[in-house]
Subunit: 220 residues, 2 copies
Amino acid sequence: MLNVADRVTSRGAVPVGRIKDLAVNCQKSRMKRSFGARTAAYPLPVFLIGTYDARNRPDAMAAAWGGICSSDPPSIAVSIRPTRQTYKNILEKKAFTVSIPSVDQMAEADFFGVASGADTDKFEKTGLTPVKAEFVDAPFVGECPVVIECRLIRMVELGAHTQFVGEILDVKIDESVLDADGKPVLAKIRPFGFDALMSEYYGTGPVVGKAFSAGRKFKD
Amino acid sequence: MLNVADRVTSRGAVPVGRIKDLAVNCQKSRMKRSFGARTAAYPLPVFLIGTYDARNRPDAMAAAWGGICSSDPPSIAVSIRPTRQTYKNILEKKAFTVSIPSVDQMAEADFFGVASGADTDKFEKTGLTPVKAEFVDAPFVGECPVVIECRLIRMVELGAHTQFVGEILDVKIDESVLDADGKPVLAKIRPFGFDALMSEYYGTGPVVGKAFSAGRKFKD
């Protein structure tokens, strides 16, 4: 629990009129419980990282540590332990894909996270289909509604994990999840997230607001 | 659109029995539309990055490019353009927080993404409360249900964005979103995601499966 005495803001001198604010701060902070140094955030993704090994056998693993990391070049980062087959494969091919599973592939995606490509043909076990990517030497998961083709451009050692930064060369989306104007519909993609503290997967809900617009009311 | 001729897998020689699989591959791939080199993935977060400037004035910005990047040390990465006030502030203090807004703070979070801390006191404009973090010299957003305190441990230049890697020193969660056993309940946290292709925010849905368990059925 937090010490109430620490809960003042750091705006410098405190005008009398802000005493009420500080009291509110104290109250708010006392309502938070410390969980320690944990890897938790919301939402966290479930990415399926597709690779070929040196003999061109397809593999994929589930990874929740990752996300978009730059707009130019458009890039995505995924963190992988050196013990994983995927680690070796990316080094071999300098390429990977990120397939975004829908809830229809939830159990398969989970299996891709617990089994090892070193001794298991995960595609064969699950029945999912490895499809050779168009621009890079890596397979994506054919059944996944959204797939991202990446060329390795950077490796960053971050302790237990190595972060692989991939330049996004293409994003491919199933025709079946597009609307009449060709725009991807989230409710049809049905991606899911990973709750690291509860070890659960959860679906996506409805649209709640328009980005770069919902906050305009605070401008004046 | 993809060229059907490219759609064979790379498992090497193709046994006759796999011709059907390849036909399925072709069909699946033809159903995907290319969107080009875009920064899209699902889900993407809406992180509020809290910092103090050199005069200890609190600021926060919304960032969707980021995620957990290592388990040990527990770390989170957020990508920020050098033009942002947050960039300067992190360099100054070597610290930042990541506050996870609930849908209750959706409009405020959006404003934190479009306004600049260089000329706007975003906390004052929105009425949200900057609370000094316990372990680092940065403020978090008091109203957010989950907050993460980070010490800067690495900067990685990735083109338009610089990735700041923060070691997670603590995760704090509102008592009001915990269950009777003290576990965080996603349906009470109510975080939301960012749909980069549609420029929309969307809520989270119900739990759809147990991680490290749902895929066991494929083991044998």
